[in-house]
């Protein structure tokens, strides 16, 4: 027994075939996800995201149920005639009818939870690497600097898709079950591709933005402040200026730009987008592309400047 224990503790050489650097990015992403999952706050935000999903899930079911139940009769409730229109008016704004706007609206509202989650995730996933000097640990390994960025972006992408894309696909599946499923799934296959496209746009842009912001300011509180500026202050500013000066001012609202790109992926008509007076799709795409490009340039410069040997 003693001999066996000694044998276990002995330093042994390792012989095996090493994987390429992309595996390292995947490992980095997995470990980053694990780091985030250990935070209790994240589970609170996940719970909130789940509430938003369940709200849409049951509201969609309710609208279809009410429509089916009351399509042929008028019920009097406390003496007031109740029609389908009365009951579903509350949900009209959310367009819970299994169309492009249903999923666009879901992602729009789920975005609030996502934005808060990513603001907090940035400091844990990337800020700490700069703040605690972990970067030399990563960059001294047989990987390129972009593999590091890719690993971190993959981790953020996992959260984006778990919180946004997967539930949106779930709503699409539910919509099919509520209507004539054969017809719905066949006719609206492009919608699921649109949801995946919207998810991809969000994954790429938000992950680059989170990584770049976290590399810049590193700590959670400054990241949240920048996030607030980007997604709250600029939204209010853009909204005000769009109403009073030019609709193009909405382009300063990045979440709105992403929403427009998403609706383009979902195949929505430009004229049907609310609130009315939106910039063109291509303008939103241009802003999103410019933001991603700026993040990439910034990341290239900052990650390049890291000294691995002291």
């Amino acid at each position: 027994m003693a001999a066996q224990t000694d044998n276990l503790l002995r330093y042994r050489p390792w012989r095996g075939e090493p994987h390429g650097p992309l595996w390292a990015s995947a490992a980095m992403a997995r470990v980053s996800v694990r780091l985030l999952v250990r935070r209790r706050l994240l589970w609170g935000l996940f719970g909130l995201g789940l509430l938003v999903f369940f709200f849409f899930f049951y509201a969609q079911y309710l609208v279809v149920w009410i429509t089916n139940q009351l399509s042929t009769e008028t019920v009097r409730f406390a003496g007031i005639p109740v029609t389908v229109g009365n009951l579903t008016k509350f949900f009209d704004r959310l367009a819970l009818n299994g169309t492009a706007h249903t999923f666009g609206n879901f992602i729009w509202y789920q975005g609030y939870v996502l934005i808060i989650l990513l603001a907090l995730a940035g400091s844990v996933l990337v800020g700490n690497d700069f703040f605690h000097g972990s970067l030399p640990f990563y960059l001294s390994k047989p990987i390129g600097r972009w593999h590091y960025v890719l690993g971190k972006c993959l981790a953020i992408g996992i959260f984006v898709n778990v919180l946004v894309t997967l539930p949106a696909v779930g709503l699409w599946v539910e919509a099919g079950l509520l209507y004539d499923w054969k017809t719905y799934y066949l006719d609206n296959l492009d919608l699921v591709l649109g949801i995946l496209g919207y998810g991809l746009v969000l994954t790429v842009s938000m992950s680059l933005l989170v990584v770049a912001t976290a590399v810049w300011v590193r700590r959670a509180v400054p990241i949240v402040m920048i996030w607030m500026g980007l997604f709250v202050f600029l939204r209010m500013l853009g909204d005000q200026l769009a109403r009073e000066v030019d609709p193009r001012w909405r382009l300063v609202d990045l979440w709105n730009d992403l929403y427009l790109c998403g609706l383009w992926c979902l195949g929505a008509e430009h004229g049907s987008i609310r609130p009315p007076g939106q910039p063109e799709f291509w303008e939103a795409w241009a802003v999103v592309a410019a933001v991603c490009g700026a993040c990439l340039l910034y990341l290239r410069r900052r990650v390049q400047a890291v000294e691995i040997v002291g």
Binding site: G20, V31, N128
Partner: protein
């Protein structure tokens, strides 16, 4: 002793071979005409701040290319951008222990070392198994499941060594491995490094300011200053033999013995006040003369050893040259 073999690289007689390596940053020359030929073994890289040690390590790890000159580490050619795949290959052969903290907060010791293994390209399961083995070997077995940020300074240094060792590299680059350690921790770390060389055939490049660390662990030294190599070889080769100098410890009537030595043209260079002197003898002096003289002056010689140059003296002489 385990031979120096890994899956990465065939046996080779040369660890590092550099020929006229120069590296400039704009108008500043960090390294100039560095030529080195080092066999596998434990090598100390010594030099004051700004000597070019860090730049040399970066070039050896393929993090920056040399501006001119050629070189090889084991069988890998140096050169190219840090993101070139040849340099990834080179870094697979090297385990690097940075001077910076370089820990990932939130991970346990075993997760940290296992992640390092995966970053080196090891499959996940093997990286995990290996992380346990290496941590046990480095006496961190009991702390494996604790968060790395909760480790003591000595444990952090060992965790950093473990992440450098996880993929079983033939070469270890250790940047100030004893930095921030208490004397006991320092001794333990140096013993570990030495054992890796003697028991497991690892080559070690030890970059440090601490001459005692190099003296304790390394077979060879490379002394750098002003971006140039000022000396390289074994410590014994580089030391001035100083056959005319001795350390002598005397008991008894030291005063009269010392005055007799002076009459015989033996100069006392230093006296520590506790009966130990460093002396320089004239040509033709033999050791027996010390004992003859001591006998006549009622003094007893407790020890007599050649006063060879210390590594500190060697370093100062070489850097000052």
């Amino acid at each position: 002793m385990t031979p120096l073999t890994t899956h990465h690289s065939p046996l080779t007689n040369t660890l590092i071979s550099l020929s006229k390596i120069t590296r400039t940053f704009g108008a500043f020359t960090a390294l100039q005409d560095v030529t080195l030929d080092l066999p596998p073994g434990r090598v100390g890289l010594l030099g004051p701040n700004g000597a070019g040690k860090s730049t040399l390590l970066k070039i050896l790890m393929g993090l920056i290319p040399p501006s001119s000159g050629t070189g090889r580490v084991l069988d890998q050619e140096l050169g190219g951008d840090r993101d070139a795949s040849a340099n990834w290959q080179l870094r697979r052969l090297i385990g690097f222990m940075p001077e910076a903290d370089a820990l990932v907060p939130g991970l346990t010791g075993v997760e940290y070392v296992s992640l390092a293994g995966e970053l080196y390209g090891m499959p996940r399961r093997e990286a995990q198994r290996r992380a346990h083995e290496v941590l046990s070997y480095l006496e961190l077995e009991e702390a494996r499941y604790r968060l790395v940020e909760e480790y003591s300074a000595g444990m952090k240094q060992r965790a950093k060594l473990a992440q450098a060792l996880v993929h079983d590299p033939p070469v270890l680059f250790l940047d100030e491995p004893t930095s921030g350690l208490d004397p006991a921790g320092r001794d333990a770390m140096l013993r570990l490094v030495e054992r890796l060389g003697t028991d497991h055939g690892k080559s070690v490049i030890l970059s440090t300011h601490l001459l005692a660390d190099v003296e304790a662990v390394c077979e060879r030294v490379v002394i750098m200053a002003g971006g140039r190599v000022r000396g390289q070889g074994t410590v014994a080769e580089l030391r001035d033999p100083r056959q005319h100098r001795f350390r002598i410890r005397v008991q008894g009537d030291g005063v009269s013995f010392r005055s007799e030595l002076a009459k015989c043209e033996v100069k006392v260079l230093a006296d520590n006040g506790h009966g130990e002197w460093r002396v320089a003898v004239p040509p033709g002096w033999v050791n027996l003369d010390f004992f003859r003289l001591a006998e006549t002056q009622n003094a007893v010689i407790r020890s007599l050893v050649p006063d060879d140059e210390t590594l500190e003296e060697l370093f100062l002489r070489t850097v000052g040259a």
